[in-house]
């Protein structure tokens, strides 16, 4: 009994992952429990297998002067032994499976309390974050308030989507990892629980700069977060110069080329319901079922141009602004002309 307790103690002590890696989200406590559970039960298995190998090798090996024609036991099998060494690992697997199954939804499913959806976009070789309410993106350093569940929509993109590659978003202190895949939006959810500065690491090989693709996530109090957010808004307001969009000079052919390059990762040219990330835009100006835009304004050229310039947020997520999409006023005019030419 003492031997067994010693083994169990060892199983816990050898896996002090939380001593080395802060548990910065609530899910990390549960993930670490799985690690400890696995270490707890695999330690005795390792000790028994290796212990028996060593014991048998010592106990039964042929020594000098032994009769070399002698043979060992002729036992072929042993039903009960085989039953138990099948049944016990099976029971452990079932237990691990159930625990993992119970932790999975806590980790992946958003609760109704999710306060904000932030978009994270992997680029070669940096991260871009888009916050609702901020018209310009934040690069590499992400700020989050402590104690609030957040949803992060992950994807990967480049100005020319054909150059986009798979990246990954790993925050080791959060025990969160999700690949950022071009053409796919995958949400992750977590609740930060410890104030601090943590790492975001790209774990999916993305090219020559892969080693240096490391971002930061700063977990801070709500007050600090609000201060940071307001400062960002002020900075952007100061930098923002209103555009003069030459709507009358829009070239729909140029707009079509631009659409294929910049917009098709999120939008198709089918009907509204043919959704990729945002709605299909084929009937944007002539859709009786959706006479108004996401901004609540009627679907006319000036208001579409306004969305392209300033971005918009709706229940499908955030449409980035012209700066994030690298659109000039002329580009916006071309795109509007192109969208008007559809159907």
């Amino acid at each position: 009994m003492a031997a067994i307790s010693a083994l169990l103690m060892w199983g816990v002590v050898i896996f002090p992952i939380d001593q080395f890696l802060p548990q910065a989200t609530s899910a990390s406590l549960e993930i670490d429990f799985i690690f400890k559970f696995m270490a707890f039960f695999s330690t005795p298995i390792l000790v028994f297998v290796n212990g028996y190998i060593l014991y048998f090798a010592w106990r039964y090996h042929t020594r000098k002067g032994d009769d070399i024609t002698a043979v060992g036991s002729s036992i072929h099998d042993h039903r009960w032994l085989e039953f138990w060494w099948t049944a016990i690992p099976s029971a452990l697997m079932v237990a691990l499976g159930i625990i993992s199954y119970l932790v999975m939804p806590k980790y992946y499913l958003a609760s109704a309390a999710s306060v904000a959806t932030i978009e994270a976009i992997g680029h070669t070789f940096y991260y871009e974050f888009r916050y609702p309410g901020l018209k310009q993106s934040v690069l590499n350093d992400m700020h989050l308030p402590v104690g609030k569940q957040v949803t992060i929509d992950l994807t990967s993109s480049e100005p020319d989507i054909r150059n986009a590659v798979i990246h990954s978003f790993w925050a080791p202190e959060f025990r969160v990892k999700q690949d950022m895949i071009p053409g796919m939006i995958v949400p992750i959810h977590f609740t930060p629980r410890e104030i601090g500065t943590y790492r975001i690491i790209c774990t999916e090989f993305c090219g020559i700069g892969h080693s240096d693709m490391v971002g930061k996530v700063i977990i801070e109090s709500q007050a600090d977060f609000d201060r940071w957010f307001a400062a960002q808004q002020r900075l952007q307001a100061a930098a923002g110069i209103p555009m003069e969009v030459p709507l009358a000079k829009g070239n729909s052919a140029a707009g079509g080329r631009l659409f294929a390059e910049r917009c098709t990762v999120c939008h198709g040219t089918g009907s509204f319901s043919q959704r990729k990330v945002g709605p299909g835009l084929g009937n944007l100006f002539h859709d009786p079922a959706h006479p108004t835009l996401v901004t609540g304004k009627p679907a006319n050229a000036a208001d579409v141009a306004d969305i392209l310039e300033h971005g918009a947020s709706g229940d499908m997520g955030t449409m980035p602004n012209a700066q994030a999409n690298r659109l000039t006023p002329k580009d916006i005019a071309d795109l509007v002309a192109y969208l008007q030419s559809l159907h």
Binding site: V71, S100, L109, T203, F205, G207, I208, G209
Partner: protein
């Protein structure tokens, strides 16, 4: 008595071919082809091993300058691709499968000797293509070559061509071996009298024949996309990058078992020979190989738990992956129980087998740790995975290859290897291997991702000291691991001139390959043996008619 009453089937035997080329180059003889595979695979093992040493030299410093990122990416891509496709799979299947399986089933050759020759001759060009890519920009995206990044890095086309060739070779060999085992077993060799290495080889052959075709398909698609811009994987034009991952792993997970099942077979032969007792749980070991082979087709998405699969899809893959652990555990426990009340002779092949048992158990357990979805989400694509896969593929497959080489070397060459050098090789390799790969588990869990030439960004100044120290220690261990191979090379060369003549059965084993001279005569058996019972009943008369009972000698060593 039975020897006189049962007549062997009449067979027409050709004389051996004349001339060096017909005998040793374009040979149809399974034993010569096996040696060709082992020598060619051995050369690629040296090259791929040197690449690993270069990588470790780069990683001795957090921001090292030995290779730089581009060359480092090329080094790990070619290292991984070569070790999987040019070393482990060809040596285990083409090498040991060819050398041992036909002899063990009492056949004169494989079913299709010409195809066997053809299959081998696809292998050197594949290796040359892969290594020649260094001359014009080697592939950089890792041995998995995930698109879209592999569409933007150089070398993908040559890589596709090389792996396609080796895939065709593996498919052909798989079909050849399946037919051989199904149709060419000696009279009386029922399925449950087959040696366990044959069980392992036939399961591997099934996996090679079925799974490798999928690899060929995705490789062809990647090639077509890269050269002709047909968008299979490019999301900008309606392709899916995740498609590659699904089909690639639908091959590459069974490939993990293609790389380890033959090693299971080798271990299952060596243990009873040197424990001088029957293998514990023959049927459990044989049927668990088949179970593992079948389930291995249903677990591929456990490589993709961070690839954005729906959560409900992840669940069955987690459960099935854990289920693979159960037959694997049955095997390990049966092997350990074979040692119980044996008369163990701790020869070099036996030491490598024991090393295999210990390390494969560890690699198996970290495999279960990777199966749990929430845990895998943290561990995926870090050094934890690098450590796990090396425990399985080096601690398992490569230790199995060395166990097999030390065990069957006398059969292949007719001469013994030196035991003392062999034991030095084992202890050096065992210690260096564990010193090199054990610390990687912690590096991975604490934030070191795989496929990085630098790790100065992701660790703060307070952590960088011990991370760099650990990497330095790992590199030194890796250099010792590489150096330990020199002992084997010296031992192998030395045996040609100074090795003791082996005789037909130096270890006193009971399977059929030991019932013929060493090296075996052309066409193996003058008379096809007749099999009367299973091969592992030490202490009883040999279970073969047409075979001299004197061959059941007990060895001197």
């Amino acid at each position: 008595m039975a020897t006189q009453t049962i007549a062997a089937p009449v067979a027409h035997i050709h004389p051996p071919p004349k001339g060096f080329i017909a005998r040793y180059v374009i040979s149809f003889d399974h034993k010569v082809i096996a040696v060709q595979y082992i020598i060619t695979g051995g050369l690629f093992f040296v090259l791929a091993g040197l690449l690993a040493e270069l990588m470790r030299a780069q990683l001795m410093q957090a921001h090292g300058h030995v290779l730089g990122p581009a060359l480092y990416n090329e080094a790990y891509t070619v290292h991984g691709s070569a070790m999987v496709w040019l070393v482990i799979i060809p040596i285990l299947t083409g090498g040991f499968g060819n050398l041992v399986m036909p002899l063990q089933i009492g056949a004169r050759d494989v079913a299709f000797p010409w195809l066997n020759m053809f299959s081998f001759w696809l292998f050197p060009p594949a290796g040359i293509l892969l290594f020649a890519s260094f001359l014009m920009g080697a592939p950089q995206a890792g041995w998995t070559e995930y698109p879209p990044v592999s569409l933007h890095t150089p070398g993908t086309v040559l890589w596709c061509a090389a792996i396609f060739l080796i895939g065709v070779s593996a498919t052909i060999t798989g079909i050849n071996f399946l037919v051989t085992v199904a149709k060419m077993r000696a009279p009386g060799m029922t399925w449950t009298r087959m040696p366990l290495f044959v069980w392992a080889t036939v399961t591997t052959a099934f996996l090679s024949a079925i799974a490798t075709a999928n690899l060929s398909a995705v490789l062809a698609a990647l090639f077509i996309e890269k050269v002709f811009h047909v968008p299979f994987y490019d999301p900008a034009n309606g392709g899916s990058p995740v498609l590659w991952q699904h089909v690639f792993w639908f091959y590459s997970h069974p490939a993990v078992y293609i790389m380890v099942l033959p090693a299971f077979g080798i271990v299952s032969e060596i243990l009873p020979t040197f424990a001088r007792r029957p293998i514990f749980g023959y049927k459990a070991i044989a049927y668990s190989s088949v179970t593992i082979g079948l389930v291995s087709f249903m677990v591929w998405a456990h490589h993709m738990f961070t690839s954005g699969l729906a959560r409900w899809v992840q669940l069955p893959f987690m459960i099935l992956t854990m289920a693979v652990g159960i037959p694997t555990g049955v095997k390990i426990f049966s092997w350990v129980a074979t040692l119980w009340r044996g008369r163990l002779r701790l020869t070099t092949p036996m030491l490598f087998t024991i090393g295999f048992l210990s390390q494969f158990t560890f690699g198996g357990i970290t495999g279960i740790m990777l199966a749990s979805v929430p845990a895998d989400v943290h561990e995926h694509a870090t050094y934890f995975v690098v450590a796990h896969l090396h425990y399985v593929l080096v601690g398992g497959s490569v230790f199995g290859i060395f166990a097999g080489l030390y065990y069957w070397w006398p059969k292949m060459t007719g001469r013994m290897l030196d035991e003392r050098l062999g034991k030095w090789h084992f202890w050096l390799m065992f210690l260096a291997f564990n010193a090199a790969f054990l610390p990687m588990h912690w590096l991975g869990l604490l934030g070191m991702q795989r496929r990085v030439a630098y790790y100065s960004q992701q660790f703060g100044p307070d952590q960088l000291g011990w991370v760099q120290g650990t990497n330095w220690f790992v590199s030194i261990a890796a250099f010792v691991l590489g150096a330990s191979m020199l002992l084997f090379a010296y031992n192998a060369l030395r045996s040609a001139s100074r090795g003791r003549p082996a005789g037909p059965n130096p270890w006193g084993a009971r399977t059929l390959e030991w019932m013929v001279s060493s090296p075996p005569p052309y066409y193996n058996f003058a008379e096809i043996p007749i099999v009367l019972s299973g091969p592992y009943d030490y202490g009883k008369p040999l279970p073969y008619a047409n075979v001299s009972q004197e061959l059941a000698t007990v060895p001197v060593a």
